[in-house]
Symmetry: C2
Subunit: 109 residues, 2 copies
DNA sequence: TTGTTATATCGCAATATTACGATTAATTGA
DNA sequence: TCAATTAATCGTAATATTGCGATATAACAA
């Protein structure tokens, strides 16, 4: 049905999935990378850098902002975006916990 | 249009996004967690453990298998699934590289 | 062979996502 | 004030995802 049954999963499972889902688009990966390189950027930069239309970039920025990975500051007619350090470290931690376990060697297959 | 313009992004960006997208569903997170706990499982286990129908679980298993995170071995009428260690470590590395950078403090906002 | 069990696949309905043109809103500069 | 600039929002089309009932497939057990 296109709708995820979030209610049958734990908060932790839903949280990890939500974060991963946002990172699950190359445009948003590219935006995060660009933000790290430049340490700040405006929507217009990204429209030039990435080959997507302005409304599309704006939409992706909103999704990144919704999960808290980036924040934006209005500067006149432009909006300055940057990584939210606190959230970034939180996500770093979340992913660490999930991925930093080593799979057993004695796997069945 | 619902279709991602993968061709305008780098291979690395697309790869990270593809992996993240697969992890971007709580059922698949739950499956991976269960696999780590039990070190092996069959589809039926998951149908009982998670509250989703068998065809739905099967579909999620296929997606995890498609990106290589898990593999399945046929054992009679059952299929034994487990984490693919090599791929897991590869993904671990990929995510490390992306997330293990610390955001600058002198952010604009 | 026949029934049982376990999983995959098909087909569908409901919803979500992606992308963008057109428009709006807000600020700056002349 | 008026035009220009920048970004958000609206509306929409195309496609993808999620979930499941029904069915198919495959292996085993009797």
């Amino acid at each position: 049905m296109g709708i995820t049954k979030s209610e049958i999963f734990t908060d932790a499972q839903n949280e990890l999935a939500t974060i991963a889902k946002v990172i699950g688009h190359p445009a948003r990966v590219a935006i995060l990378q660009y933000l790290f390189e430049k340490n700040s950027c405006v929507c217009g930069d990204l429209v030039n850098e990435i080959g997507l239309a302005q409304p599309t970039i704006s939409q992706h920025l909103r999704e990144l902002k919704n999960v808290g990975l980036i924040k934006g500051d209005i500067e006149g007619t432009r909006v300055c975006y940057c990584i939210d350090s606190d959230k970034w470290l939180e996500v770093q931690n979340l992913l660490m916990h999930f991925f930093n376990r080593n799979p057993a060697d004695n796997s069945c297959c």
